[in-house]
Structures are given as structure tokens and as C-alpha cells.
């Protein structure tokens, strides 16, 4: 659906974004502002919820309802809202520190419950707002202000974590690739239940170039492995490279010419077993070489908000619509004259 420029403007709050010039967040904001109108959902039905970090400022810039919550808890707050109000379209904007460190517990539980919330994780592999400490997605040995001798932590693989937490929708995209980003958001918006989207986002101040391999004109064609459902997984300028599965289930990158197209893995995002998506998540541990992007997994299962509403209906059917006077007078009572 084509969106007129004036419509797009109506979705901006008018508050001036205060990210550093050149920050990847601007590109994401622009993409989302032009994408939201195409969903055909009225503005007042959207709620953006964020935590703390540079990503947290996002909610102030879109002209919808929004809550800028506390560090790590956006997803818990959004879960309460989405479960109470299944009629709303609830989006969480979070970062790698916000949702994988201080808020890790809420992330995994929201994913397993499958609450109707879209989670956009702006992963820049660094703490930006607190001025440059290593994050749970920073690489081992990372030199930062808090790790002058190098980080000892082994990083999370956010997609593998989400899959391990029983996520029903898992995807990865890039801040600067408007078309791909919009495509993934479209799929996330259409998903019932929790949609987990990792967006590689460049922090040009504290971690510049972390995703250059995937975004640079010179290298991106060599390194972006674009997943498409039901299609053999191949990439490279001429599609000359591909992904095969080894006997032990792990994935390997090969030259298609060496194995033949039939040997390539055919992507199946709808498979109920997450093993394929998990192996793909581990195909590249760091975004410094060929890395899959796109929708890794998208399956249907019970959605918490709807399920709770169904349960209320069952309770009404079984017990009758709640009547306060009869509740108060229930059980053993006695009268005093």
C-alpha cells in the first residue's frame, strides 16, 4: 500500500529525536513511521513501550500511545497491557542491555507465554546511553571503559536464546536496509503472539562499524544470507554459495558448485521443531562473516491474551456472570435478627 508523505508525517510526534547524528536508530524510526500506516490500524490502537537505553527514547517520537518504562521491564509492562487489551497493537522497543541483561527474565517468559507483543531489539552490542560499557552481546575480549583488559563474558546469541525460550516468531534484520527491515516488520505485525525481531543497529559513537560486513556496499552481497521460506538457502552476488546441513545437524557454508543445488537446506520457517532455526542461528556466532537475516521461525500456537479471554468466557459459562451480592452471600451464612 502506498503511503502519502503527509500520512507519514501524522505518525511522527513532532518531538525532535535526540540520538547522536548518524545513529542507526534514525533509520529504524524512519522505516517504522512509514511502515505503520500501511497496516491500516488506527493510530490510537498502537502502543509503543520501551525500557532504558538509547532505544528507550523511541516512544517519544511516534505519534501513538506510548510508555517509556524502567530499565529492563518494558516487556513485563507491555505484557500486562497486551493481555488486558488484546484489541491493541503493542510494540516493545528495547536494546541488548535492556532486554538481554537487566530484563532477561521478562524476555524469556514473554516468549514462552506468547503474549501478543512485537519485540524490536535494537542490538548495537554496546551500552550507549551509559557511555560505552560492554553489553551481553559484545564479543569476548572487547575493550571498553569497563573492560580495559578485555571483556571476559561470553556473549548471548539473541536468536538462539529466543528459540530456546520457545519463541514462536524469530527474525533478524538490519537498520540501514529499509526494504528488508520493512519486510520483517510486516511479517512480525502479521504474527499472532510474541514476535521477536533482532535489528542490528549501528552505534556510531561507541561501537562504530560492528555490522559493516553486512551493510557495506562492498561486502554485503558476500555476507547477507537472506532467508526465504521454502527456498534453498543460497547467497553471494551470483548465488554461488549455499548452506548445507551436516550429519550432526549443524550447518555449513559451501560452494553450490561443489555440492549441487539439491544438497542445499531448504528454509522452513513454519516447522514446529525449532532445530533448523536454531542451527541457522548458530551458523554465524558473530556478524563478521556470512550471517542469516530474515524470518528464522514463524509458527502458530496458543496466544496468552486470547487464551485468557477464552478462560474468562469459560468461567462465565460455568459459574454465571459474576454477581457481587451472591458472591458476598455465598458459603455458610447465618442471620441475626
Amino acid at each position: 500500500m502506498a503511503v502519502a508523505a503527509k500520512d507519514r508525517k501524522a505518525w511522527a510526534s513532532g518531538e525532535e529525536p535526540r540520538w547522536c547524528p548518524g545513529c542507526g536508530d534514525y533509520a529504524i524510526l524512519a522505516a517504522i513511521e512509514s511502515f505503520l500506516p500501511e497496516l491500516g490500524v488506527p493510530r490510537e490502537k498502537f502502543v509503543f513501550v520501551s525500557g532504558i537505553g538509547c532505544s528507550g527514547r523511541f516512544v517519544y517520537y511516534v505519534n501513538t500511545y506510548g510508555v517509556h518504562a524502567i530499565h529492563g521491564r518494558a516487556l513485563a509492562l507491555a505484557s500486562g497491557l497486551a493481555v488486558a487489551r488484546p484489541d491493541l497493537s503493542v510494540w516493545v522497543v528495547t536494546g541488548d542491555g535492556d532486554s538481554l541483561s537487566i530484563g532477561g527474565n521478562h524476555l524469556i517468559h514473554a516468549l514462552r507465554r506468547n503474549v501478543p507483543v512485537k519485540v524490536l531489539l535494537f542490538n548495537n552490542q554496546i551500552y550507549g546511553l551509559t557511555k560505552g560499557q560492554y553489553s551481553p552481546t559484545s564479543e569476548e575480549g572487547k575493550i571498553t571503559k569497563s573492560t580495559p583488559f578485555g571483556a571476559l563474558d561470553h556473549p548471548f546469541n539473541p536468536l538462539a536464546l529466543a528459540l530456546g525460550a520457545e519463541a514462536s516468531f524469530v527474525a533478524r534484520t538490519l537498520d540501514v536496509d529499509r526494504a528488508h527491515l520493512t519486510g520483517v516488520l510486516r511479517a512480525a505485525a502479521a504474527h499472532r503472539g510474541t514476535a521477536f525481531v533482532e535489528i542490528y543497529q549501528n552505534c556510531n559513537v561507541f561501537n562504530d562499524g560492528a555490522f559493516d560486513t553486512l551493510t557495506d556496499k562492498q561486502t554485503r552481497a558476500l555476507n547477507q544470507i537472506r532467508l526465504e521460506h521454502d527456498r534453498p538457502i543460497r547467497f553471494g552476488p551470483e548465488g554461488e554459495r549455499g548452506v548445507v546441513q551436516r550429519g550432526d545437524g549443524s550447518m555449513e557454508i559451501v560452494n553450490v558448485a561443489d555440492v549441487g543445488e539439491d544438497a542445499l537446506v531448504v528454509h522452513d520457517a513454519h516447522h514446529h521443531d525449532p532445530s533448523l532455526a536454531f542451527a541457522l542461528a548458530h551458523l554465524s556466532e558473530r556478524p563478521t562473516g556470512p550471517t542469516p537475516i530474515g524470518v528464522f521461525r514463524s509458527v502458530e500456537r496458543q496466544v496468552y491474551g486470547q487464551a485468557l479471554d477464552d478462560q474468562l468466557a469459560v468461567a462465565r459459562a460455568r459459574l454465571g456472570v459474576g454477581d457481587l451480592a451472591s458472591l458476598l452471600g455465598s458459603g455458610h451464612t447465618w442471620a441475626v435478627a
Partner: protein, 589 residues
């Protein structure tokens, strides 16, 4: 044992006696039987006048084994009756309880009337021949033997208990039959043997006309939240993480989903608070409940609710701390935390329940304030209130307060919509998502007065701090004044809050019965305090503040009103007895 106590309580309430109970059980779920720390006890006081406490010194103790005798005998009044399960007083159990010789054989129980009843043997005999019943199951029925015996002693109605047993164990015929048989055997034992010289006749208590039921504090609180939901038209959203003793509220609410009650067992305490706050943003009645340790974890979210100025009710069923403390024992030591336990200037209203059934009204009041003033409210209960029960005059629904959420829905002046504008109470508009034309963003960063935009302006921050504080302080105009009970023009005022109500009133009654003059008053609103608090304090020579903590309210009163109020503290995991308060009052007359 708790089940048996509950049954006796119900039968007593139905009979028309006033009563208050005090369950006392170990934190361990299946604590080793026969050991001192594994003793599970249930205390009840009932009488033909209004009862204010579970009773300091029971007149009858039923001890099912030596450990139970040892841990509870100290409570019994001099000359009281001890009924022991004779079968359990064997060498092994005596040793476990730390008795060198059997207290039944030496003269350590000389000051009491001791009745030795072989409850196990009699129960086994009574349950003989019940098909499919194992010996173990038969033995377990002995608590019902004890219940039958005590029911006989006090002339409790039999039918209600029999009916209850039949319903409760309907799924297991052999257990049902065993419990019924044991219960009847216990009753008959009292009736037919001449061991018991006494049978207590406790006449029904005079009470205000109306329909009554027994209710525990936990159930009353849960029902109060449901009632507030009905009377406000806001669906209730209750999020909680399992914790003793607050879980009872979650259990109770989750049974009433036909009232549009959404209960949510969260992954942790922090999530529970945020879930409820998220639901509140969505226009629901957001509530979360916990006990002490959970309050620590919720503090940051409560601060966010202060900043967002959204209605949120946080129930704290206090227990003895710090840390894990005594999870199943009573203490009221979270007052300072409720009042001040957040970073920054984060004032909020605090309401405290004072009696089990009154938890119902306290919950409605907490919701009323939260919704009317768009603020988080902390509602304090405690282990004693939550677990105890008492007769409750069931209110008429039409008499309950109506709570108006007063949502803002009109976008006609949308160019001028100010999310942080204020009404005469300084409350801001509550607009729920889905309302066209009033889209706005709120958050934890300081707000510009009126517009709600992020503001770092120094003057604005000070103004907003004052506005938030002023809003809470202004609630004092909207709550009842502190009521003083002073029939004799006393010089001494005993001032309390929370579950000490019963003990304070009972102690005062006893002092007055001996012509002592003492005044009493009790706070249900701890923040803000009623407007007349200063005047009340100033009109007494001495003020005594008994508290189940090291003196938290007394510190507030001294700081706020510059009065020489004295504290009296108890931190033993149990409520005040009226005798000790009576003594403290007498000392000051």
C-alpha cells in the same frame, strides 16, 4: 491441623459466637511430625460478646503429641484443661520433643487439668471395617476425633461439620467415611465417658442484625478488590508472584474469573508490578500483591507509577523480616518502607487494614484513592490478618462506594490536550489507548508541568515534586478524621495502626472495667494521616503507640508533630496479647 481448626471456626461462627482465630504453622510444608519446629497449631477465641483478639491464654489445649504440648503449654491459662493424645506419648516422641521423662507421669502439669485420651486407638477402632482404608489413612483421621471431642465440649453444631466432611472428601469415599467415623467417635467419647467433668456452654454473642459469614482476611481483601472492580466498572487485573502469605489472595481471585478478573502468575515480583501497571495504563484496575521481600523488588516500579500518575494498588501482607525472616509469622514492620521506601521524592498514599473482615473495606478504600487520585496506593495487611477469620456482617452492594474512573475521552480540544494537567484534587487525566485524538506518551523521565513532555528544567522539577507531594497530602481532606474512643476523659491515648486494633481495644476494655481511664484511636490511613491527627495528639498528656515493629509509626508521629509519644514494641512473630498491653497501659496511668 489447620483444616480441623478451620472447621471448628466455621461451626462456631454458625452457632453465633463471635470469634477470632490465630493459625500458627511452620514454614516447612511437611515439617517432620513430632519435632518441636514441626508443630502446627490453631488458636481460637470465641465468646458471647464481641471478640477482639485470638485470646492470650486459651483455656483448653489439645495436644496431639509431646512436641505440640511442649511448644504450646506455656500459653495455657492456669488451671486450664489439657487434652492429650495418649498414644503419641511414647519414648521416641518424648525424646524428639526433648522430654527426659513423660510430663504425663511427673508433676510438671500439676497446675492443669489433664485428660489422657488414646485418640489413635479410638480412631482406629472407630474406622475398623471401612473398605479400602489403609492403617495410615485411618490414623490420619484422628484430628477429626479431636475435633469431635472439642465440638462436644463446646456444644458446637454437628451437622455443618459432618456435611462439610462429606463434601470435602466426596471424591474419596473411604477417607470421607473414616473422618466422619472419627468425628462421631470423638463426639461420642465426650458424651458417654465421664472423664470430662465440664462441658462449656458458650451462648451466641449479641450482634447487629443482618446476615453473617466467617471470612479470612485474605478472602476479604480479595473480595474487596472484586467489589471495587464492580463498583468502578474497571476489570480487575491482579498480577502476583507466589509468596507466603500473600499467595492466598492470588488463589482466591483466580477462582472468580467470571467477574472478568484477570489473574496473572508472573515470572517474578518485578514483572508482577509492571504487568499490573501496564494493565492500568490500558484502563484496567491494576493490582499486585506480595509480602516483605517482594516489596523490596517492586520498589522501582512503584516509583515509576508515582511518576506516571496511574492508579495501581500494591498489597503488602507483611511478615517478619528482614530477608526471608520468619515467612509464616506475623510482624508489621514494613510501614517505613511503605511510606518512604523508594529513591527520590516519591510520596504515595498508604492504607492499613485493621481486622480480618475489615480487609474488605480497606481494599475498596485503597482502590478509591488510587483511581480518584491517579496514584499507586500501598495497602498493608499482615500474616495475622490474612490468615485469621472472624464473623462478617455481609454488606449490601448498594451501600458500597461508587468509584468513578472519569476517563478522558473527549478529543474536541485535542490541540490543547495536556496529559499532565490537573483537576481540583491535582489528579491528572486518565486516557486509555484506543481513544482517538488523545495519543500521548508518558514515562519515567521528569515531566513538564501540563504537557508531560520530557523536561530537565530545574524549576519545573521542583514544581513537579511539590505537585506530586501536594496531591498525596491533599487526600487528607478526603478521608475520615481520626476517631477517638474516650468514654472517661483520659490523659493517656493508646494509638495504633494495623492488626493491633483488637489487642488495643481489648486491653482498654479491661483497664476500663477496673475504672482506669484510657483513650484509644486507630489509623487506617497512614499516608496522609487524617487532618485532625495533630489536634488529637495535642489533647493528651501521654501517647502510647504499641507496634509489632521497633517503633515505626511512633517515629513518624514524633517527627511530624513534635510530640513525646512513647512506643511499645514486640517482634516475636506473634500478635500482641491483651494482657501485655493492659500492663503497659496500667503502668502509664
Amino acid at each position: 491441623m489447620q483444616l480441623t481448626g478451620d472447621r471448628f471456626t466455621s461451626a462456631t461462627g454458625l452457632f453465633g459466637n463471635d470469634l477470632v482465630t490465630l493459625p500458627d504453622f511452620p514454614a516447612e510444608i511437611r515439617a517432620p511430625r513430632g519435632t518441636l519446629h514441626g508443630v502446627s497449631a490453631f488458636q481460637i477465641q470465641f465468646a458471647s460478646r464481641d471478640i477482639l483478639t485470638p485470646g492470650d491464654e486459651p483455656s483448653v489445649l489439645v495436644a496431639m503429641n509431646p512436641a505440640a504440648l511442649k511448644t504450646n503449654i506455656g500459653l495455657l491459662e492456669a488451671g486450664g484443661a489439657v487434652i492429650v493424645n495418649d498414644d503419641e506419648f511414647n519414648a521416641r516422641n518424648l525424646e524428639r520433643a526433648g522430654y527426659a521423662t513423660s510430663p504425663l507421669d511427673d508433676d510438671s502439669l500439676a497446675g492443669y487439668r489433664v485428660f489422657r485420651v488414646p485418640m489413635q486407638t479410638l480412631t482406629l477402632r472407630a474406622t475398623e471395617g471401612i473398605a479400602g482404608l489403609s492403617k495410615r489413612e485411618a490414623e490420619r483421621a484422628k484430628n477429626f476425633f479431636a475435633l469431635g471431642l472439642v465440638s462436644w465440649m463446646y456444644g458446637r453444631p454437628v451437622e455443618v461439620t459432618e456435611q462439610w466432611i462429606a463434601e470435602k472428601f466426596a471424591g474419596k469415599a473411604e477417607i470421607r467415611d473414616a473422618n466422619l467415623a472419627a468425628f462421631r467417635a470423638g463426639w461420642n467419647f465426650g458424651e458417654t465417658t465421664e472423664v470430662f467433668a465440664v462441658r462449656y456452654e458458650v451462648k451466641p454473642a449479641p450482634a447487629a442484625p443482618g446476615v453473617y459469614r466467617n471470612i479470612s482476611g485474605a478472602a476479604a481483601l480479595a473480595w474487596g478488590l472484586i467489589a471495587a472492580s464492580v463498583r468502578s466498572g474497571l476489570p480487575l487485573f491482579y498480577a502476583s508472584y507466589p509468596i507466603t502469605p500473600a499467595s492466598e489472595i492470588l488463589h482466591e481471585l483466580s477462582r472468580h474469573k467470571n467477574f472478568d478478573v484477570r489473574t496473572f502468575q508472573a515470572e517474578d515480583e518485578i514483572a508482577a508490578a509492571n504487568l499490573a501497571l501496564g494493565a492500568a495504563f490500558g484502563g484496567h484496575l491494576g493490582a499486585t500483591g506480595t509480602s516483605g521481600p517482594g516489596m523490596d523488588l517492586k520498589a522501582e516500579t512503584i516509583g515509576l507509577a508515582v511518576m506516571l500518575e496511574l492508579p495501581l494498588v500494591i498489597v503488602d501482607v507483611q511478615r517478619a523480616g528482614p530477608s526471608t525472616g520468619l515467612p509464616t509469622k506475623n510482624e508489621a514492620s514494613d510501614l517505613m518502607m511503605a511510606l518512604y521506601g523508594r529513591h527520590g521524592e516519591a510520596p504515595l498514599p498508604v492504607v492499613a487494614a485493621y481486622a480480618p473482615a475489615q480487609c474488605f473495606d480497606a481494599a475498596i478504600e485503597a482502590v478509591r484513592i488510587a483511581v480518584t487520585y491517579r496514584t499507586p496506593v500501598i495497602l498493608l495487611s499482615d500474616t495475622f490478618l490474612g490468615n485469621s477469620s472472624e464473623p462478617w456482617l455481609i454488606p449490601a452492594v448498594d451501600d458500597l462506594p461508587v468509584i468513578d474512573p472519569a476517563f478522558t475521552t473527549d478529543a474536541s480540544s485535542s490541540d490543547g490536550f495536556l496529559p499532565y494537567s490537573r483537576d481540583e484534587r491535582l489528579a491528572r487525566p486518565w486516557v486509555v489507548p484506543g481513544t482517538p485524538g488523545l495519543e500521548h506518551r508518558i514515562g519515567g523521565l521528569e515531566k513538564q508541568d501540563g504537557t508531560g513532555a520530557v523536561s530537565y528544567d530545574p524549576g519545573n522539577h521542583e514544581r513537579m515534586t511539590a505537585l506530586r507531594a501536594g496531591k498525596v497530602a491533599g487526600i487528607a481532606r478526603d478521608i475520615p478524621p481520626l476517631e477517638v474512643d474516650d468514654p472517661d476523659g483520659a490523659d493517656l491515648l493508646v494509638l495504633g495502626w494495623g492488626s493491633t486494633y483488637g489487642a488495643i481495644r481489648a486491653a482498654a476494655r479491661r483497664v476500663r472495667s477496673r475504672a482506669g481511664a484510657v483513650a484509644t484511636a486507630h489509623f487506617t490511613h497512614l499516608s496522609p494521616l487524617p487532618e485532625n491527627t495533630g489536634d488529637v495528639l495535642a489533647s493528651y498528656e501521654r501517647v502510647l503507640v504499641p507496634e509489632l515493629n521497633s517503633g515505626q509509626l511512633v517515629r513518624v508521629l514524633r517527627a511530624e508533630y513534635l510530640v513525646a509519644a512513647e512506643g511499645y514494641s514486640k517482634m516475636q512473630g506473634v500478635p500482641f496479647g491483651f494482657a501485655e498491653l493492659e500492663r503497659e497501659i496500667e503502668r502509664r496511668l
